[in-house]
Each structure stands twice: as structure tokens, then as C-alpha cells.
């Protein structure tokens, strides 16, 4: 049985796809057979972030409508043999997703994979609800900014009432907070919500803090998940998050402001 993890946020542009790609890759690097599914039907982007956009032949909706076999639609990652991608359809809309259809695909993937990462679309409509419905765990991606925090709380409410686990009265979906685009310098200046602030408001366990980093844009430019970038702060932060997801206890990094050296201060470098 695979563990189904939804990456969700409510708000758009906070880093869901970046996170899905990084966490999926991280789990694969750690030896777990992992598939990342793009649930953003109509606005496919996971393929671009993971650098396999030119290898898409069949998609999620093709499999759902039995126009293609699951194995035909799955794209094997070129960097890691444990990693697979199931792209979203670019030509259909979210109504193409049905609960039974999604369930069948997840059941079949469950037979061979250890982890299924569901990359949710933004919003709280059908696509997002479908992405989280079957989840065992949820990674709630949040920016330290008012609208993102509020939307995260909203999505937590949906996880707690509209997921399969909630409807059946099973053990609730395990929730994780992933704070992204974090800028310790601005936090120190009192101009950005701190990790503690967001934790106090949302009251869910912290999985990771990803610093605002140039490496993230560079990674998406290249179509290579940031976790593969050796030496990138955001990459390390994602690796730590993956370790915590696997149950390890690891100290948080990149949440304190880096001390500027004398020379740097003199030269006014940031």
C-alpha cells in the first residue's frame, strides 16, 4: 500500500509544484518508489518543473477515460529510477476528474509505489478537492504572508471535513506545515511573519522551512527539481523536510538571519 500525500495550499503561486517536485524527488533519492501526479488539469506545469515536458504522450485524463494504459502515461525520471511523473491533461478541464476514476488510478499505483504525491491545483474547487480527497497526509504549503496563511487555514478546514478520511470517520489526514519563501532578514526586522507566528495561527506540526532562494527560479528554468542542486540552501531545506516526513528528527536550518561578516557589511553586500 502506498502512502498518498497531497501538496496543497488554497492560494496559488506559493510553491506547490516546486514542493511536489522536490519532495517527490527527495523520497526517490532516499530509495522509495515515488510517483508525482499533476492534478492541475488544464494548467499542466509539473512536467516543466521536472524537465520532462517533451516526453508527455498520454496524461492522467487519458488513463481515466481508458484511452491509454497507466504504464503508457507514466514518465520515468531521467535522474532517478525510483521517480515517476503522471502529467495532467492540458486540453481538458477539471470536470474530467471523477472520484471513481481517480480512485481506480490511485489503487493501481498503490500496488507498485511506496509514495504517491498529489500536486493540487490552487483554489478550493473540484480539482483541489479531488487532489486531497484520498490523501493519508497533507503538506500545506504556506508563505509567511496574510492571504496565504488564511487560505491555508481554509484548506485545513476542507481536509478535516471533505476528505475521505473525514467522511468515513477514520484517523484524520496527517497535516504538515511547509513554510516557503521565508526571509529570515525581514523576519528579524519585524516585517515578515515568523515561523513561530505562523505555527501559532495554524497550529499544525512544522515539516520544513524553505528559505527564499535564487536557486528555486534557477531550478525551474532548468527543469531540475531544486533538491538535485547540490549546495543550494533551498535544496538542503527540502532534504531536511523529506527526512522529517520519513520520521527523522532534524534541527531546522535557514530560519535565523545569516550574520554578515565585517567585510560584507563594509561593502554593503546583502
Amino acid at each position: 500500500m502506498a502512502e498518498i500525500i497531497v501538496v496543497t495550499s488554497g492560494k496559488g503561486g506559493v510553491g506547490k509544484t516546486t514542493t511536489s517536485a522536490a519532495i517527490g524527488s527527495g523520497l526517490a533519492i532516499r530509495g522509495h518508489k515515488t510517483v508525482v501526479i499533476d492534478f492541475d488539469v488544464g494548467l499542466r506545469n509539473l512536467d516543466l518543473i521536472m524537465g520532462c515536458e517533451r516526453r508527455v504522450v498520454y496524461d492522467f485524463v487519458n488513463v481515466l477515460n481508458k484511452e491509454a494504459k497507466l504504464n503508457q502515461a507514466l514518465i520515468k525520471d531521467k535522474r532517478n529510477e525510483n521517480l515517476f511523473i503522471l502529467p495532467a491533461s492540458q486540453t481538458r478541464d477539471k470536470d474530467a476528474l471523477t472520484q471513481d476514476g481517480v480512485k481506480n488510478i490511485l489503487d493501481e499505483l498503490s500496488k507498485t509505489f511506496d509514495y504517491i504525491i498529489c500536486d493540487s491545483p490552487a483554489g478550493i474547487e473540484k480539482g483541489a478537492q479531488m487532489a486531497l480527497y484520498f490523501a493519508d497526509q497533507a503538506i500545506v504549503v504556506t508563505n509567511p504572508e496574510v492571504s496565504s496563511v488564511r487560505d491555508s487555514d481554509r484548506i485545513l478546514g476542507i481536509l478535516q471535513s471533505k476528505s475521505l478520511r473525514a467522511e468515513q470517520g477514520d484517523e484524520p489526514v496527517k497535516e504538515h506545515l511547509l513554510l516557503t519563501r521565508y526571509n529570515p532578514g525581514r523576519v528579524a526586522d519585524g516585517e515578515m511573519l515568523s515561523v513561530k507566528d505562523v505555527e501559532e495561527i495554524l497550529v499544525i506540526p512544522l515539516l520544513g522551512v524553505i528559505p527564499e532562494s535564487e536557486a528555486v527560479l534557477k531550478a525551474s528554468n532548468q527543469g531540475e527539481p531544486v533538491i538535485f542542486d547540490e549546495g543550494a540552501d533551498a535544496g538542503y531545506a527540502y532534504k531536511d523536510a523529506v527526512s522529517r516526513l520519513l520520521g527523522e528528527v532534524i534541527e531546522f536550518r535557514f530560519i535565523e538571519q545569516e550574520k554578515k561578516g565585517f567585510l560584507k557589511r563594509l561593502l554593503g553586500a546583502r
Binding site: E145, D153, R154, G190, E200
Partner: protein, 83 residues
């Protein structure tokens, strides 16, 4: 106010303002989420009954349902304006 206070007192930073605003709105929205579906309709009907006897408008009535561990409290507040 001592001279130290003068130098130490700063304008509240925007992050603390953000936190305060979020705490208020999130608590409010969580409350609304947990409320049973019949609450808005019941509130409306209660207001109609009161209106038969006293001239009030909707904003003078608030209905709140608080859940504790083993019991719930339905709180009804009607503020009557002085003539």
C-alpha cells in the same frame, strides 16, 4: 513616560499587525466553519419573532454557538437601543 520609554518605544512592526489580524479572522472563520448548517436560518427566524414585539434590526442580534468538551452553549444577544 520615562526618557527610556521614549527611545525604546517603536511603532508596531507590520509583522505583528499581520499576526493580530490573522488571529482574529482565522478564529472567526473557524467558528463559522464549525457552526451547524441550521444556525443562519434559525438566527433569521429568531429575529423575525423578536421583531413582532420590538423594533430592532438584524445587526442588533447575535447568535453564537460555543462548543466545549462535553456541552455546547447557544448564546443569543439582543441589544436594545435606548429611546
Amino acid at each position: 513616560m520615562s526618557i527610556f520609554d521614549y527611545f525604546l518605544s517603536k511603532k508596531p512592526k507590520s509583522a505583528s499587525l499581520a499576526k493580530e489580524r490573522l488571529q482574529v479572522i482565522v478564529a472567526h472563520e473557524r467558528g463559522a466553519r464549525k457552526a451547524p448548517k441550521y444556525l443562519p436560518k434559525m438566527q433569521q427566524e429568531i429575529i423575525e419573532v423578536i421583531k413582532k414585539y420590538i423594533a430592532i434590526d438584524d445587526s442588533q442580534v447575535s447568535v453564537k454557538l460555543d462548543n466545549n468538551n462535553n456541552h455546547s452553549i447557544l448564546e443569543l444577544n439582543v441589544s436594545l437601543s435606548k429611546k
